[in-house]
Structures are given as structure tokens and as C-alpha cells.
């Protein structure tokens, strides 16, 4: 169970309208590496953790991430709150307005809805910015993953340099 606390984790009070910033910032809200994705991944992963410590840590970090979600939402909301429809259109947020008016919505910077799913490695792309591929805190497992990524980087690099 969760409780809401009626404070932000850190105070936010943006007076300036900045639609371009809002458009980019929204990816930190609902984009592939955004706060919502992080929160949900932590909370997904806690169930199958091998130790009480890791279950506790993922529960607490996942919960804290939800406070980050709220801070980013507050920033985006305040940045576009006083914008006119024309200004939104000019900033490339016309589509957002048509779909959601000025409401928040979990999207990336180009308006794609948040893909709430586990990351897995596609054929040519991978992501090392979040260690969500690590299924358990096991030294050998982590080491193997690191080697795999290293080999993949090398082979991608080779393919890339052959092309160019």
C-alpha cells in the first residue's frame, strides 16, 4: 500500500514559461529513461529479489522515484501553464494539446506514449544507462552482463566503422 504526502520532495516554483524546455523535459517524465519507467521497473523487480535487503532497497527507491515523477510533472506543468494555443503550436506541442489539452501525459519528447515494459536488447541497440538488465545482485551475473555488453559494443563499433 502507498500513502500520498502533500509536499514535493524538493520545492519547485517556475515562473518562466518555456515551452521548448517543457517539450524536452517531458521525456524525463514518461520517456524510455524517465522517472515513471524507473519507478515501475524498480517496483517490478523487487518481487523476485533474492534477499530481504534488496527487496527493501527496491521498494524504497521505487517509492522515492514516484516523488521524482511528481517533481518533473510539476516542472512541465508550470512551464506550459500560461501558454496560449498558438504558442503551444509553435513549440511543436500542438499535437499534445489536441490529445491532452494542457494535462500531463506520460510521453517522450516526441509525444510517444510511455512504453511501460522491461528493457530488452534489440538487434542493433542497447542501453547501458540503466542497469535494468541485471536480474539479481549476483556478482557472476553482473560480470557476465558486463562482458556481454563489452563484446556487443566492440562488434557494433566494428560494423559501424566498416560502413563509414
Amino acid at each position: 500500500m502507498w500513502y500520498y504526502v502533500k509536499t514535493l520532495e524538493y520545492p519547485i516554483n517556475l515562473k518562466c514559461k518555456d515551452l521548448n524546455m517543457a517539450k524536452y523535459l517531458i521525456t524525463q517524465y514518461g520517456g524510455p529513461d524517465g522517472e515513471l519507467g524507473a519507478a515501475l521497473r524498480y517496483l517490478d523487480q523487487r518481487y523476485t529479489m533474492p534477499t530481504g535487503k534488496s527487496k527493501a532497497l527496491l521498494t524504497d527507491i521505487g517509492t522515492e522515484e514516484m516523488a521524482h515523477v511528481e517533481m518533473i510533472a510539476t516542472m512541465v506543468h508550470q512551464l506550459m501553464e500560461n501558454a496560449t494555443i498558438d504558442e503551444l503550436k509553435k513549440a511543436g506541442l500542438g499535437g499534445h494539446y489536441a490529445d491532452h489539452r494542457k494535462a500531463l501525459f506520460y510521453t517522450d519528447a516526441t509525444g510517444n506514449p510511455c512504453p511501460i515494459k522491461q528493457r530488452h536488447f534489440g538487434k542493433n541497440t542497447f542501453n547501458i544507462s540503466k542497469r535494468t538488465f541485471i536480474r539479481a545482485y549476483n556478482k557472476d551475473y553482473i560480470q557476465n552482463e558486463c562482458f556481454k555488453i563489452l563484446f556487443k559494443s566492440v562488434s557494433l563499433y566494428k560494423t559501424h566503422s566498416r560502413k563509414s
Binding site: 500520498y4 509536499t7 524538493y10
Partner: protein, 83 residues
């Protein structure tokens, strides 16, 4: 929400501190300094929240605040609003 007055900013400072100490203690449960700090911070935080809630209504609900004031819950400013 105006954290600059009414002691809310003070509450948020202690809250922030408590969150980080808690996460640290998840990792290092045997750290004596951190656990002493955590006791102090959470004690101070609880008393600050209690005082604040008496005049401004609850900061949390569903039975986890001692103060019940449904009108203040809806009428007091929300955290994402400009001040």
C-alpha cells in the same frame, strides 16, 4: 503551497534528509552515525509535521495523519501549484 512560510520548507528539509538517510541505511544497516541521525531527524520531522497539521490540515491521509480535516485537505494549495 508556499514552502517559504508556515514551516513547510523546514518540514521538506527534514523529509529530504530522512529519505536519503533511510536509503543509506537500507544499504548500511549497521552504520551507527547514520542510524543516530535518522532517529533525530525522524523525531524532529514527526513533531514539525504534527505542529504544521494543527493549523494547515493533514499532509497525508488514509489514517496515517493524526489530524482529520477534509476541508483543509481539498482547500490547502497543492504541491504543484505556483506560489
Amino acid at each position: 503551497m508556499c514552502p517559504c512560510k508556515d514551516g513547510l520548507k523546514n518540514i521538506m528539509m527534514y523529509q529530504f534528509c530522512a529519505v536519503d538517510l533511510n536509503l543509506y541505511l537500507d544499504n548500511f544497516p549497521d552504520d551507527k552515525n547514520a542510524s543516530e541521525d535518522y532517529s533525530k531527524v525522524s523525531c524532529k520531522l514527526t513533531s514539525l509535521i504534527h505542529d504544521y497539521e494543527k493549523t494547515h490540515g493533514p499532509l497525508t491521509n488514509f489514517g496515517s495523519s493524526f489530524i482529520e480535516n477534509p476541508k483543509a485537505w481539498t482547500d490547502e494549495p497543492w504541491p504543484w501549484e505556483n506560489y
